[in-house]
Every structure is written in structure tokens, then in C-alpha cells.
Symmetry: C2
């Protein structure tokens, strides 16, 4: 597997576009389209929030279709909690796009991100659909990646190539979302982070869903910016088979190679999101090892990654390990606190649940000045691991979110 420059339109047969439709007050790009020249197997993961945005509802319904051709998405408006008019607005956008592309409406998926409870400006979107379609291009991936952003400070796209037998397939993607980030998504059930992944690999819908479930578990579902789960989280993967590899229809060697590449891409995209978390100055990686089972490891890693106190002291470049152990202990997971070790980078800070004499806070403080902090917690109770990603917590997060809708 190699990393290549690219994004959602790097795999063969995919075209993309992004433009400004006037949804955002700022006038920045806010409407995107992703299109495959041929039918795709699709897999999707949606938020498990009880409040589901209208585009999530419609995409979930459309996932029952065998194949898909396009995804239309907007930033600047979540189209959530808008009642029946919200559902109708999302349906109109999908129908108009399907008509413009000449594809069945159930082959179109959709996603939205932005403020909750404001009417989607459907007329503005409708007016821009012809331009959106006409501008579709193989080099439109970056326009797409830019137009899905909200409070993000950088565009997030990447692509990889992996050899399956004699064929090289490409997987590329773009994502956004740096606030209201604590996804808990499940495939074909429910996932405001948005991520869009395309591949020219030939793979059955069933295997694509299995691959996506594996990929989100150790990536998007392990990031947290603020502990707030969105109503709009969505992750789509489209596979059009244009690479011409032998179709993956079982969990064979090619499935493993493809899925490992997809997992890598998803993990890197998830890290991009955490690194760009609202107000963030640092990426924080929390590895939990020695858990009795995977679920326990995930629970501890997720709990520590949402500790406001820990995230504030990381912002303050203060290696205060007390906040790590307090948060582990609050996870609800049963473990022997007298066995727990904690490391900051490679430096051991806690041994068997207590501080160690040789802990040199000033030395560790140097590690905290870097823009990526690694914390490892070894529960020493088993063999299972999990890694979560978050960011530090700065005054800027408060400022961004105190002023968001006004």
C-alpha cells in the first residue's frame, strides 16, 4: 500500500465538484457533489443519535437500493429538527439532482452539516444544481473537500493505492468535522462529522459493509473533540469496480488487503479531524493496553479522551497524570487500580497505580510542548488494546462555540 496525493475523485470513474450556493452567510463554498460514471456498491454508517437529521433519514432509506451513483451534500445547515418540511426539503434536493444527472433518485445519497433547526435554503441549492453537475471533474476532489468544511481550518483529503493480485486499486476520501465530534456510528444503522470515501475496487455490497464496519470501529468511532455526538454524522463508501480486479465477494486475501488499506485511510482521516478539533493546538493519542477485552479497552480510551480536565492541562503543557488516572477510574470498567501504569510518550509516569520516584516532570513537560502527545495506559489485566484520538482544550473552543449561531 502506498499513499498518493488525492481525495474523493482519485479512484477511476469518480468525478467531484464543490461550489458556493449561498447557504453559509460567509459566502464560502457550501455545496458538493460526488458522482460515479457507473453504478457503485455502497456502504454507509450513520449516527446513533435519537435525533436524526433529514438527510440521514433519506440516505438510510436509500441504502436499501442495490447500487448508487451520486452523493450531494451541503455545509452551513444541518437540516435537523426541522420536522416534516425538513424531510421534504432533503427529498427535493435529491430528486432535483437525480433528474439533472439522469439517474434513479434512490441511487442518490445525501448529507448535511451546520446549524440545527434552520430551514434548508432549497431554492438556493436547486438553482446551483446545473452548475454543480456541469463542473464535475476528475480534478474536482479538492473543491469537494473545501466546500464540506464548517469550522474546520484545513481541508482533509487523502488517497492510497493497494495491489490486489495483479490489479492496483485506489481508495480516496475527504472528511470534515471539528466540533460536535464524538461519533458512535454503525453501518447501515445510524453516523457532524462527514466522510466520503470512494474506490475503484470491485467489491460486493456485503463485503464493503463489512470492511466499513471494521474501518470505522478503530477510526471515526474513536475520535472525540468535545464529547458531543452529532445528529448528522455520516460516512459513505462508494465502490464502482472500475479498477477491474476480481470482485471481492468473500473474506478472502483481497478482502483483507483492501480492508487494511481502508482502515489505514479511515484512521488517518480520523486523526486529521481530531488534530483540527475546534480550538485545538495538539493532537492527543490515547492508547489503552492490557484490557480484559476490546470493549473495556475502548471504554477506558473513550472516557480518557473526553476528560475536559486532562485536555485543559495538555493545552497548558502540564503533564498532570492525576487526571489520567482519575478519568480511567471513572470509566466504569473494572480493573485493579493498583496495577495501572501510565506513560507520557516513552516516559513512565505512573507505576502500579502510583507515582514513581524517578518521574521527572520537567523532562516530560518537554514532550508536552510538541504538537502530538501520546499517552499510554497499561491496565495489566489482559491482552486487549484500543486507541482513541482527541485534541487539547483551549479558550478558543469556548470562543468558537459561544458565538456559533449568532
Amino acid at each position: 500500500m502506498i499513499i498518493v496525493k488525492g481525495g474523493v475523485a482519485t479512484a477511476k470513474g469518480f468525478l467531484a465538484n464543490g461550489l458556493a450556493a449561498g447557504i453559509k452567510k460567509s459566502g464560502r463554498p457550501d455545496l458538493v457533489l460526488l458522482y460515479s460514471e457507473g453504478p457503485c456498491a455502497a456502504a454507509a454508517a450513520f449516527t446513533t443519535n435519537s435525533f436524526q437529521a433529514s438527510p440521514v433519514k433519506i440516505s438510510r432509506a436509500h441504502m436499501a437500493n442495490a447500487t448508487h451513483r451520486a452523493i450531494i451534500a451541503n455545509s452551513g445547515n444541518a437540516n435537523c429538527a426541522n420536522g416534516k418540511s425538513g424531510d421534504r426539503d432533503a427529498a427535493i434536493v435529491v430528486e432535483r439532482l437525480a433528474a439533472a444527472l439522469g439517474v434513479g433518485k434512490r441511487t442518490v445519497l445525501t448529507a448535511s452539516t451546520g446549524i440545527i433547526g434552520h430551514d434548508l435554503p432549497v431554492k438556493k441549492i436547486e438553482k446551483k444544481i446545473p452548475e454543480l453537475v456541469l463542473g464535475l471533474a476528475a480534478d474536482g476532489g479538492t473543491r469537494f473537500a473545501k466546500a464540506i468544511l464548517t469550522t474546520d481550518t484545513v481541508k482533509k483529503e487523502m488517497a492510497v493505492k493497494v495491489r490486489l493480485g495483479k490489479t492496483v486499486v485506489t481508495i480516496g476520501g475527504a472528511c470534515k468535522g471539528v466540533g460536535m465530534i464524538h461519533p458512535e456510528m454503525t453501518v447501515s444503522k445510524h453516523a457532524t462529522h462527514l466522510s466520503f470515501i470512494t474506490t475503484d475496487a470491485a467489491i460486493s455490497k456485503k463485503m464493503l459493509e463489512a470492511a466499513l464496519q471494521e474501518a470505522i470501529e478503530d477510526s471515526f468511532n474513536m475520535i472525540s473533540v468535545d464529547g458531543d455526538m452529532s445528529t448528522n454524522d455520516t460516512c459513505f463508501v462508494l465502490a464502482n469496480g472500475y479498477a477491474g480486479n476480481g470482485k471481492i465477494a468473500s473474506k478472502n486475501k483481497d478482502y483483507r488487503l483492501f480492508t487494511d488499506a481502508l482502515k489505514f485511510l479511515a484512521k488517518e482521516m480520523a486523526r486529521m479531524l481530531a488534530r483540527d478539533g475546534e480550538g485545538a493546538t495538539k493532537l492527543v493519542e490515547i492508547e489503552v493496553a492490557g484490557a480484559k477485552n476490546k470493549a473495556d479497552a475502548v471504554k477506558v480510551a473513550r472516557k480518557v479522551s473526553t476528560s475536559n480536565l486532562l485536555k485543559c492541562c495538555i493545552y497548558g503543557e502540564d503533564p498532570n497524570w492525576g487526571r489520567v488516572v482519575a478519568s480511567c477510574g471513572a470509566s466504569g470498567v473494572a480493573f485493579d487500580s493498583g496495577k495501572v501504569d501510565v506513560y507520557f510518550g516513552d516516559k513512565k509516569a505512573v507505576s502500579n497505580g502510583g507515582r514513581i520516584g524517578s518521574y521527572d516532570k520537567e523532562e516530560v513537560r518537554k514532550l508536552f510542548k510538541k504538537d502530538e502527545i501520546r499517552i499510554k495506559i497499561d491496565l495489566k489485566s489482559g491482552k486487549h488494546k484500543a486507541t482513541a484520538w482527541t485534541c487539547d482544550f483551549s479558550e478558543k473552543y469556548v470562543k468558537i462555540n459561544a458565538e456559533y449561531s449568532t
Copy 2:
């Protein structure tokens, strides 16, 4: 029931003191003592955190004793995760105090609050014990209330009187804790908020424990400042029987009167803590109604009370109800999102899961300028209720906690 001026030493037979022992670098008061002239029935609730501070461990063991006489507590150091030397230090403090008071060491309880992972300065404490004992006084409650504070900006104490038959009993208390506040305590099991309650009511230990369990459920266990559960949370109640009422030994009418007064006191103390949350400018009350059962109501109220996004927009005085519904939906409680109503104060903002046309954001914004904000969520799925308290989230919280230990 009437509210009277007072605190931990207002009930008959209780004396208190607080002074500076040099545990805090600032030189502010940091060591307190509460003493009953006669033996007390005691009940306690401790943190459920897997990491338990040394004073929590020792107090938990001492709760097995039939009666208690005194509580010694310090601020400025949590004595947590200090290994065996931490346990030994806590034991030394208790033993020295017991000797100075001439009481059995198992009648002494203890609590600590402050930074985790630093040695308790036992010598400094030992040196101050004689002065601490000599200064015990019926008017020492306020000295006590001041010396237990850490990042708190105001002392928190109150007292009530309630008539049981022909006898008037007094219940008084003091508490502290405005960061690492998300208690989940259970009586005689595990509870850095600290609260100390005294009463001159005659009540059996068993009934006192039952009363305390009722009281913490709707008070301390329903507040959150930052979602971070402490290793040191402790709530003590001492009852010395000096009021001379007929001893409460069953859940009779007097039990109900006493417990209702205790619940009132605990709720008001919990509100004081939330209002003084680190960096807080507003108290936020979140009432959930219409839940299928109490556990669901508690789960939704607790989830909404920990939403960083909601707390930021309250700080920004921005009535963004989208963050309320997103957080309800993330609670994991099953309800029909299409039935949910949300009120800010008395103004309805959401009806049946969607915004309402008559919602006047500018009018509601005026409510958000007050220093107490009420949010009501009606799930319309049942008859159960719960109320949680939190505060808004300001840049000051980040500042306080980025600089805490350095």
C-alpha cells in the same frame, strides 16, 4: 422547615475549626476539624471511581464502626495515587487526631481534596493538630467552610431547622468543589466534591444511611461541572441525637420529615457547587420530564448537563436549542424524538422534536442574560422526572485548569 444562618456547627453538640497548615502554597486555610461532644450515628457516600484516594479508603473502613466522633479533612492535596505511603500518611493523621481528642481512632473519619499524586505533608498537619483541637468552637463552622475550599470562589454552608413532633432538630452543612465535578456516589460504598452535614437529630445509623442515599440521588449525584468524576468525592452526615427527639429507627413520619429537610439542604448545597463551577457565570438547571422511568430521566438530564457545546452557548447567551436536542439524542435513552418539547424558562423552543414558528430568539436571549437558566425537556413518553444542575462553560475554566498544577 425553616432555613437558618449556619453550617456544620449549628446543630447542638458540634464544634468546628479551620486553619492554615501550609499544605496550600498560597498559605490559605487548608485544614479542618469537625467534632461532636458525644457519639454520632454516621452515614457516608464515597466516589465510585476505581482509583480511590487514601482518605476514602480509610473512611470507608472506619464506617464499619458503630459510632463516630470527628472528621479531619484537608484541602490542597488529594492524597490519591500515592501508593502505600499515601495510605500510611492518611492513617497517621487519623491516629494523631484521635490521640489529641482522646477518642478511638475508628471513630475518626477523614477526607482530602486537591492535587493527585503529591505526598501529603503529614508533618505540617501533625504540628497543627493541637491548635486545630484547641480552636474547636460552636462558631467555628465558617472557619471550617472556608478552609475546605480549593478553586471555589465562595464558601458554601447552610442550615435548616425542622420540627419532629414537639422537638426541633437542626441540620447543617458545608461543602466545596467546583472542578472535577461529576459525582456518582453511593452510600457506604464509594463519593472532589466534599460535603459535611451534621444534625442533632436522634436517628439510627441504618435510617441515616437510607436518608443520605435518598438525599444524594437528587442532589450531589445530579451536578456536573466538567463531567470528570473525582477520586475523592465524599459526603458525610453525623447525627449526635442532642436534640432529644424520639429516635428515628424506622421509615415513620419523623423519618420523612427529617429526610425531606436533609434532601432540601443537600439540593441547595449541590446548587451552590454548580453555581460556583470553575469559570462559571451562570447556574443551569436541566429538568427532564415525561420519561418512562426515573433512570431514563436521570440519564438524559445528566447527558445534557455535560454537553460542552450547550454550556458554551449558554456562556455566549445564545439560546441554541439544537444543542439541547442533539445531546438528548446522544443519551442512549430510547424515546420518540418526534414528541420532544424543549423550554427555555417558560418559553417553548421545540415542539414535537422540531422548532416552532413562534419561537422568538431575541426574546429568549433576554432569559439567557440572567444568572440562572432553566431548561426543561419533556420527552412525553411517561411520568418520571429528574433535575440536573450544571454551569456555563467559559474561557476561564480552561485557564484555571491549564494552569492548575504548575
